[in-house]
Amino acid sequence: MDIESELKTYLTQLAVDAAQDSIEPEDDLIGQGVIDSVGLIKLVEFVEQQFGIKLDDEEIVPENFQSLRCLSEFVRRKKGAG
């Protein structure tokens, strides 16, 4: 499974609103309430464990978590940099 698919599967489980059964690449994860503050902590833990990367404090910002696409690209960059 590629990065985006893995993240999409996890985000679908994580979605605060259970009715959100499909997440599109450009959906606003924060604005639409897919992830809340507790969800963000779990998402960071998932990303670190699943992709073997360590996120710096400065990287946990809206620019990297705004959408599935942003997050996938961020993870790809981090993995490449590692």
Binding site: I30, G31, D36, K42, E58
Partner: protein, 381 residues
């Protein structure tokens, strides 16, 4: 698995218990009735190194690990009966000093931590607002970036240590459209133009710990006083709340042991129907329940301390500890009042004060209902 403490840790515990018993309880009934903040006792604690315990020596701290710090706070609660002082110190330690240490720049750490450790400064955490308590991230206070400053506007409430504090860790939204990821945290010093501390909030217990409202009206805070990067306010808050959830009630475990010992002694001495009341099963059972709650609370507390010491995730464990400790402390206080009978209701016996103080433990640092929500979210996977 290791349940014991080292010789050094036990020696520290003994020192702090004696210090707290001998130095921090004088005139407490009167001070509590008059809601007097014990500035002198705060300083005594700082002189002993309490406020600096887990922080690096080079920043004015004691360099202790988290388990040792927890043991010290428990010992403080065993000796000190002033719940307001214990609460105020713990609130500063976990929700002001710890975020500065974890998220602060070197300049911020150097500027604030040594003076918070030494007692020269008192810190306060300002998140809650009149319309946002449990739903903390719906806060309305805003911070608008203007050149090298942020302009803050809004009101904070239930600010622990408020009227005594010199520096405030305040949270504000820089972009409401980004919800919880649009928050930033700021270190605001008393005396900053546009910032003022409003009247004391009367409350049921914790009388020696001042609680106030804060008002920000076009309050200009230098950009270098922002803690962490923009948008990290929620993470800073979450992190500080995890520290608080984990350890703000460490002193209550010590207080539970003190209270239990007092109940056992009282029940052995108090005679009714020709024998000590501890010989009545209804009394003994109550004492046993207090003992079991205290032991279980201690295990949860130190499991969390061990996790945090090892830099392990403790989201659920900290919430479990907070939930169990607070509920146990309230129940044990109720049991103690019942055991002492009419005397338990009197001010003189100093049991009713514990009960009044204990009620707040189910409310601050996240209510018991919020702790259950956090645990439930963790169970979802």
């Amino acid at each position: 698995m290791e349940f014991g403490f080292s010789e050094e840790q036990l020696e520290l515990r003994g020192t702090i218990r004696s210090f707290a018993r001998d130095e921090l309880n004088k005139d407490l009934v009167e001070r509590e009735q008059k809601s007097i903040f014990p500035r002198e006792n705060w300083q005594k604690c700082a002189d002993l190194g309490i406020q600096g315990l887990p922080f690096p020596v080079e920043l004015g701290g004691g360099g202790a690990d988290i388990v040792t710090t927890t043991l010290a706070m428990e010992a403080l609660g065993y000796g000190c009966k002033d719940g307001g002082l214990l609460f105020g110190i713990a609130a500063q330690l976990w929700s002001v000093q710890m975020p500065i240490w974890e998220f602060g720049s070197e300049a911020q750490q150097t500027r604030y931590l040594p003076r918070l450790c030494s007692g020269e400064l008192i810190g306060a955490h300002a998140m809650t607002e009149p319309d946002s308590g449990s739903d903390a991230f719906s806060l309305r206070t805003t911070a608008e970036k203007k050149a090298d400053r942020y302009v803050l506007n809004g009101v904070k409430t239930f600010v622990t240590n408020g009227s005594a504090a010199d520096v405030f860790l305040a949270f504000a939204s820089i972009d409401r459209s980004k919800k919880f990821m649009g928050l930033s945290a700021f270190l605001v010093e008393r005396g900053t133009p546009g910032f003022r501390v409003e009247g004391e909030i009367g409350k049921m217990g914790l009388q020696t710990c001042p609680m106030v409202e804060l008002v920000f009206e076009d309050c200009e805070v230098p950009a270098e006083n922002r803690l962490g990067v923009d948008g990290r306010g929620a993470a800073i808050f979450q992190s500080s709340m995890e520290w608080e959830r984990s350890f703000i009630l460490a002193a209550c475990v010590g207080a539970m042991e003190r209270q239990l010992n007092g109940c056992v002694e009282y029940a052995k001495q108090r005679r009714q129907y020709g024998k000590p009341i501890i010989k009545f099963q209804s009394v003994a059972n109550k004492i046993v329940d207090m003992k079991v709650r205290m032991e279980a609370a201690r295990l949860l507390l130190y499991k969390t301390a061990w996790l945090k010491s090892n830099d392990e995730p403790a989201t659920a464990e900290s919430a479990i500890a907070k939930l169990y400790l607070s509920e146990s402390w309230v129940q044990s206080c109720l049991d103690a009042v019942q055991l002492y009978g009419g005397y338990g209701y009197t001010t003189e016996f100093e049991i009713e004060r514990d009960l009044r103080d204990s009620i707040a433990t189910r409310l601050y640092s996240g209510t018991s209902e919020i702790q259950r929500n956090i645990i439930a979210r963790c169970l979802e996977g």
